[in-house]
Symmetry: C2
């Protein structure tokens, strides 16, 4: 009996030792990854080029072509990496000449606003359209007002809630005004639409973004105005002075064109047909440099391959960086990628998207088909003791727009979650530039994603 | 038996319900605190004034007097707050005229460096001191070289380790060069000392900070140079070209003077003699605006009182905001405060310091006398489910320099821990200004500290 107990204890101790040693090994690898990112990461250099040399890169624009060529070339230069481009179809829209909104009271110009037409805004004649302004706070209110809006300029002004702890939630609660508001106003005969910028801040920077006009709605001019101007305008409208706006835009939707996703991979040494995808989107709005949105995600995905090379790790599965085209206005790249994955029946064990900025890492949010989710999430939770020293937590929740179409394939979908507090300082603005990205934070993000890729590759998800 | 079981189950359910309800109430209060901070916090307004109207505020300087008057006035204006000033003694040092370091090779000027004399640096004659430069990497190396350094300029150039995940640890491993290096060099006859700036970045901004000359060592000029200049200089020295520096400083240590801690409190409604302290330090280096270091900590401490007022909470214990004077060069304020607390035998149940910048909150680190620590820490850990939704964790570790002298009084000492990645971008530089503080992040820090104060006040630590 005594001997048996000792044997059992010995076995348990052996098992514990092995687990412990394995965990020590993994801790060592995660430290190597983080060191490599901070000392030899390429993310910041790549992002500087994308943001400052290429600049804003709407799908189909000349800048998007430069970005495709640049990132393809950089991926192709990496040791062991196979790089290629994957065709996709993207709708092309151009801002045209600088849009204008001029406010008149009793016929006199009182203010020229600093504005940005929304993506897919319609255009006006050369001297614009002039009308009085009606402030609203919701799409429902527009339905209630109905054809009373005929011939008016509708002004959506429901604030982004400052007191939401996670500004992405505040964004989610406000953004219907921008995405669906202009088309709704157009339906009732509005001649133009102004939308309060999507940010919790009170400042002087307009935030653009997509607005959707269904095929049966003729696009009207749709314009983001700053939160300070929105506050000012709302106060002026309360004064009951006759207040008109003149709106001038020359935006053009030019139809569909061919573009590309850019892809680079380290081919798996054991199961090359199983893929762990990491991605971001290569297109951005035309203003600013698309640094946080989403140059950061692209260069982090690219750096995963570089960092695995740096630490000399040979993956079991294929580790594939995908820079998706056209996230901002149609998901052309994401859909093309998922179609191709389904056609070739390539199992994507996991897909991780970084599209929430290059800020200090806080963790990952995970989702999957309910049939597999609990198993996967439990497995990933085993790695928490390895991730926590880097300030990384796991949560259940959304992943990313580009990888969404992969969900039916029953892999794990992961959203990289950096700290969210500063994102809407820069999102879709002229200030989304490299000087607002912190090098260490960007690199630590690449390291966090690489760490998760390493753990999934080594242990699987079952 | 059946009835008994049911009764037991009912009792357990009742207990669970009460706990649950309590926890729901607390969650509601924490949400109220965070909302109040984001909507009605005063921290950012106060910090803007301290950083931009007052500016850098060395202990004993005219700016420090302005800061005392301003913060006292603002505390005094808050409802229910009693404000006063507490005398302390501080050593006064002045930078004097702009310091200079000019590099010559073979007698010709090749570079004028962008430098900052360290606090307590000695001075030179009007035309400075000129000598050849010897690069070293540690205090031990200086001991080994010994009197070979007589008549030389010693250049400390051991880098801040980039790959430390927490830059505060990198700082801890490098800063002995700045604090003790110049005195060590002086002991062996060095005529001046250059020190590589304490930052993981490679940039063009010098970082000052204190250096210590013991009473028996005559201060020599001690100068921070930028990391880019340090790298350049090190490469030049390898070239074996005769390289000299001319160092010119006119710093003055002026002896001890009277100054003040600024204090404001909400007096406890049940046990006014027990104190929960929150603090930061009001002095800063003279360059920049002392925004992150440590204006942020001061305004957050002040805002705790405002936020408790905003939510209408009546504390059981006395909640006391203390803005300590002279953290940067002697802890005059911290010592005076602790002396007074000991003399009056005022129990400080907890003392929380915010002195790691106004960045996005990540949690608290806690320490105490070993006799009480485990109990306190276990109690605080019960609150984790309430803190985690705000991204706050607890850890065991150091608290803050100003509250350190309170440790023997057996209260809990707490350091507020914001994200550490950007701190050494700004620390002790001309860039430590309001434009590098994010308003939401600063406010969320104030809310995090207020939340912990509320929980300690409501539940105690036993």
């Amino acid at each position: 009996m005594m001997r048996k107990s000792i044997t059992l204890i010995s076995l348990l101790f052996l098992a514990w030792s092995i687990t412990q040693a394995q965990s020590d090994d993994d801790a060592f690898v995660l430290k190597q990854i983080h060191t490599a990112a901070l000392e030899h990461g390429k993310a910041y250099t790549w992002l500087t080029y994308l943001s400052e040399e290429v600049g804003g890169r709407l799908a189909g624009s000349p800048q998007s072509k430069q970005a495709i060529a640049y990132t393809f070339g950089e991926l192709d230069k990496l040791d062991n990496v196979a790089a290629w481009k994957q065709k996709c179809t993207v709708p092309v829209w151009e801002r045209g000449e600088k849009e204008q909104v001029i406010i008149r009271q009793n016929g006199n110009i009182v203010k020229t606003l600093d504005v940005l037409a929304l993506g897919y805004s319609g255009s006006t004649k050369r001297n614009g359209v002039q009308a009085s302004i009606v402030e609203v706070h919701s799409l429902d209110e527009v339905d209630t007002l109905g054809f009373a809006l005929d011939g008016k300029i509708v002004f959506y002004n429901r604030p982004f809630e400052v007191n939401e702890m996670n500004p992405f939630h505040g964004y989610g609660k406000a953004v219907d005004q921008r995405v669906y508001g202009p088309a709704k106003a157009a339906k009732y005969g509005a001649v133009a639409c102004l939308v309060r910028s999507m940010t919790p801040n009170y400042d002087d920077v307009p935030h653009t973004g997509v607005t959707i006009f269904p095929d049966d709605v003729e696009p009207i001019p749709a314009i983001a105005i700053t939160t300070n101007d929105a506050t000012w305008l709302s106060n002026e409208l309360k004064r009951k002075v006759r207040t008109d706006a003149t709106v001038i835009t020359s935006c053009k939707a030019k139809g569909n064109f061919k573009s590309y996703n850019v892809i680079g991979e380290l081919t798996g040494s054991v199961s090359p047909d199983t893929v762990i995808l990491i991605g971001g989107h290569l297109d951005s709005w035309d203003v600013g440099g698309g640094a946080h949105d989403d140059g950061a995600g692209c260069v982090q995905a690219m750096d995963v391959l570089n960092l695995l090379n740096q630490i000399g790790y040979t993956p079991r599965y294929t580790i594939r960086a995908v820079l998706f085209m056209n996230e901002e206005s149609g998901l052309g790249g994401g859909k093309a990628y998922a179609d191709s994955a389904r056609t070739s029946n390539t199992f994507h064990l996991a897909a991780i998207e970084s599209d929430a900025g290059g800020f200090t890492p806080r963790g990952f949010s995970m989702e999957a088909d309910p049939e597999v989710f609990t198993r996967y999430y439990r497995k990933a939770s085993d790695w928490l003791p390895l991730l926590e020293p880097y300030g990384l937590t796991l949560s259940q929740g959304g992943s990313g727009a580009d990888i969404g179409p992969l969900k039916s394939m029953k892999g794990l979908l992961v959203g990289f979650k950096p700290d969210p507090q500063r994102y809407f300082d820069f999102h879709h603005t002229r200030n989304d530039r490299i000087q607002n990205v912190n090098e260490r934070e960007l690199e630590l993000g690449a390291a966090a994603i690489t760490s998760l890729v390493y753990l999934i590759d080594k242990y699987g998800l079952e």
